[in-house]
């Protein structure tokens, strides 16, 4: 009787997800291994043999790695600063970090088009200051994508780290200092290792997010394709659904491998925390 009630509560949601998510995704993945009714890996072999495809994959990985590292380097100190503030100031800064996160990615990418464009804010100010002679070509390059992606994901890593850091007992820092550590040493030997779990979760979110982001590369990347815009191009423009499915499967695989590896790393680096 109780069991029945439980199923009745869970079943509608489960059925809905199965029908509209699990089956479509599973079928998309399965379809890549079959062509005209027989098992094949041709799609993948084709993908791996084509330097153009590989180049896109490589660019995507590069952009994602740089974005992730930049987010960590920029986000970590800022998160530490925020986590040490009093509740009022902390609340305000957190709100200011969350606001861009909730703002449309179209709006955020568009703002960088205004700034980075040929006649954009950056170029016009640099020109008028006489620092450059002709406009820099930033928009529609991987650099623009990276800037846009860092802008997109930096808040995510900041708020994740603040969440972890504010739970670190402030007495630990005092203990380290009383044992002879300078503020910086205490930060390095106490805060940094204890932030590792948050750092890993944050890095997964940023890395997977950059790897699969669509809007920002579509707007800022110009002709430079990344794997997500490439998927869209194959599906909609080129109408090559088999190839699009192969790319989709590769994206899912990379996502899950990254999450799996990072989780392993997290347990390894943090056996007792």
């Amino acid at each position: 009787m109780k069991k029945l009630g439980l199923y009745l509560l869970l079943l509608p949601g489960l059925l809905f997800l199965t029908l509209f998510m699990v089956i479509p995704i599973a079928m998309t993945v399965l379809s890549t291994f079959f062509q005209e009714g027989s098992f094949t890996l041709e799609g993948y072999l084709h993908f791996l043999a084509d330097p153009y495809f590989l180049k896109i994959l490589w660019t995507t990985l590069q952009v994602s790695v740089v974005t992730t590292i930049a987010c960590i380097l920029l986000g970590f100190p800022a998160a530490y600063y925020i986590s040490k503030l009093g509740p009022r100031k902390k609340g305000v800064l957190l709100a200011l970090a969350i606001f861009p996160l909730l703002t449309s990615s179209v709006v955020r990418s568009f703002s960088w088009m205004i700034i980075l464009g040929k006649k954009g804010l950056l170029n016009s100010s640099l020109l008028s200051l006489g620092l450059i002679e002709k406009p820099l070509e930033i928009l529609y390059t991987p650099s623009a994508m990276m800037i846009g992606l860092i802008h997109l994901f930096l808040p995510l890593i900041i708020i994740t780290l603040v969440g972890v850091m504010e739970n670190i007992d402030p007495d630990l820092l005092k203990a380290a200092e009383s044992l002879g550590a300078s503020k910086f040493t205490a930060f390095r030997q106490v805060i940094v290792p204890l932030s590792v779990p948050g750092l890993i979760i944050g890095s997964i979110l940023v890395f997977v997010g950059s790897l699969t982001a669509y809007t920002t590369p579509a707007l800022l990347g110009g002709k430079q394709r990344v794997i997500s815009t490439f998927l869209y191009q194959n599906a909609i423009t080129l109408n090559d659904w088999h190839m699009a499915s192969v790319i989709a499967t590769i994206m899912i695989a990379i996502t899950f491998i990254v999450i799996g590896l990072m989780n392993k790393l997290a347990t390894k680096l943090n056996p007792k925390g």
């Binding site: 949601g13 997800l17 998510m21 079928m27 998309t28 925020i82 179209v106 930096l154 969440g163």
Partner: protein, 262 residues
Amino acid sequence: MREKNRGLALFTFLIFLFLLGPLLIISVTSFEPGTVLKFPPQGFSLRWYENIFEVEMFMETFKTSMIVSLAGNLLALALGIPAAYALSRFQFKGKSLLNGVFISPVLIPGIVMGFAMLKYVIITYQLPIYAGLLVGHTVLMLPFIIRVIASSLSNFDFAIEEASLSLGAGRLETFFKVVLPNIRSGIIAAVLIAFLESFNNVDISVFMTGPGVSTLPIQMLTYVENYFDPTIAAISVLLMIITAIFMFIIERLMGLSYFTKR
């Protein structure tokens, strides 16, 4: 008493300048009177705000976005509240697996989900595009609804439920009269968060366009590819105002800790 670290404070200030500056620039340029985006603007005008209401495609897609996000939200609530309740209230075998399944839509890359839905929901199941959009956005919102409501239920003392049962109320009556009122702010916050996720979504919607059907972000994306006038800046400002209001309400309802917890 708190140690002052000027270097770190300056660094953090620059980070926030980087995060918020572009949004500020967009807001300022939306008042540009000319036809080309400029910073600083050459004057002050609201003509591009007026233009939003004159471009029919913006009004059409705004309507579609609203309908899809609101109807999808209701559907996600209908599916999500019972699931969140079951997952918080009961201990049973396979619970963590089910938890994973309900949260999984956020793990699958959005662009992959959009493509898979186009392939199967639109083509194979032959749902109309409008319905496909609705279904896609419901799937998208479900994990947010479940997560926020479950966290709200985790603060709920289920002994109150037993008290209600012992006083003679039925299970369903208890749920509506005792449980629901106590997690009301969680539900409202869930609705707002899910709404923003859906309303801003590009990855799924970009595959679900057809004759006369598209959402506002997709329309903006197309517009930006062809025009560079300040209309998009004006729309952006309106969207940011909505976002700010939503965020303020969410903060009032349950603080900001939802965002910092992972």
